[in-house]
Amino acid sequence: MFEFLIHVAIMACLYGLLSLSLNLQVGFGGLVNFGQVILFGCGTYGAAIAFSHQLGPVAGIALGIVFAVVVAAAFARLGRNLGADYWGIATLAVAEVLRILANNEAWLTGGAQGISGIPLLFGDMPRPMGPLMTLGLCLVLLLAAWWLCQRLTTSRYGLALKLMREEPQLAASLGYDLAALKTQTLMVAAVLAAASGFVFAHYITFVGPDQLVSSETFLIWAMVIIGGSGNHLGAIVGAILMQFLFAFVPFVKDALGLPSEYVAAMRLTLVGGGLLAFLMWRTQGLIPERIGGKQNG
């Protein structure tokens, strides 16, 4: 049970990173990114491709970040020509195209079989020290990401992001370069997501295209909306809550005497139902955004 709880905590931290990344985009910048999972996938495949070419973890994280930044730059470029809603659909399309590429370009990605055998980051340590060290790393990453997001969003840059989200035309007429703001935000978010993907790949030891399905993006969206869009702590709380709920679905299944195939359906219902409930009855999420406040600088 102890190791199971460590596993759930590690996954909660990794999803917390993804949730912070999405929250920076949608909660602060108003960037409706439906392709978030592919930024995570850049991190996982960076680690996997580096491993398959006998390169070390440093090359893996570097490769993951480079992939993610390139995809983020492509997203940002699309945003120059498309309205917010169409941009959201375009990010979903790009993510799906890249997932299909990963599924078919076996020479690079291992195709549908993926790449397995990626070494654990603390594989030479006895259990449960290895998982505990991984959890420690994840916690440090999550805290660092939270600190970074907090610093960014309480600065003049954060104010600019909120102005862009609230009134883009007005923000532009005040001299804010919206294209640059979007690009910078996507870059930061991409690095956070890639870091999560890198640790995930070295924790699960397998990377495949099935990890990049769009339902993962909507799971991250549910975490942000349930936790509280526009609030970093809310995004983390949403991720932890959803992960622990997911983890205990099998126990509920056993208690109700349901067949095993119901587990996936119950998790999807949890995501959809949770999203719907919060969108209808508590749009601000569990920890609402702090509105207003003095302008910095």
Partner: protein, 250 residues
Amino acid sequence: MIRVNKVRAGYGDGPDILQGIDLTASGGEIVTILGPNGCGKSTLLKCIAGFVRPRGGAVEMEGRDVSAVPVHEKVKNHRMGFVPQTDNVFSTLTVADNILLGARHLPVAERNERYAELMAQYPSLASKQERKASALSGGERQILSLARALISNPKVLLLDEPSAGLSPLMMHEVFAAIAEIRDRTGMCIVMVEQNAFEALGVADRAYVLSLGKVAIEGRAADLLADPAMRHLYLGGEPPAAEGKPRFAAV
């Protein structure tokens, strides 16, 4: 100050909304752009501001072609102020924060000095500095958006329907404030308006657009007095048989 030369513009792959517009505006004058809905008034203003890039022709500011310069660069480098039609204040910020947003490129000392000047000019805002902008009336919001545009001391001020949604009393107050800005600062003001009578009352010159072209241009006072203009664009009585337009029909 501003010269629009045979500008064509539109959105996406759609047809040209502006079909070869010519317009000039100088310092110390208010130029108003009038016309029925869908004639391209706001598109023309967005073209001048830099939100819409012209497909043809040129927009010049102080003799330099700025057709391809985006709005944020015009604000910083060409001292342009722009006040959008609606959603022109950040309702979650205070009045003071809204105004100071317009001065973020200025040194702190100059910013504080300009802010104090504006508070003296607009006492209705001075008494509500710490209130959220959402608590202001429509007219006060419009004055607030004007004050925010003015704090950076622009040379050119573009106003998109400043009287939209205002009561007649508030409208009068806003137009009086605009005229006062021109008289005091010698600024070049270009204003798109639906309320043609009131706009012509404060403007120096006017352009009336129809289907993306300049249908009529001339001195505001002449347009206001002309029976044909009153009938065609201002909803007035038809002109008498001898009534001939005194303005330049294009």
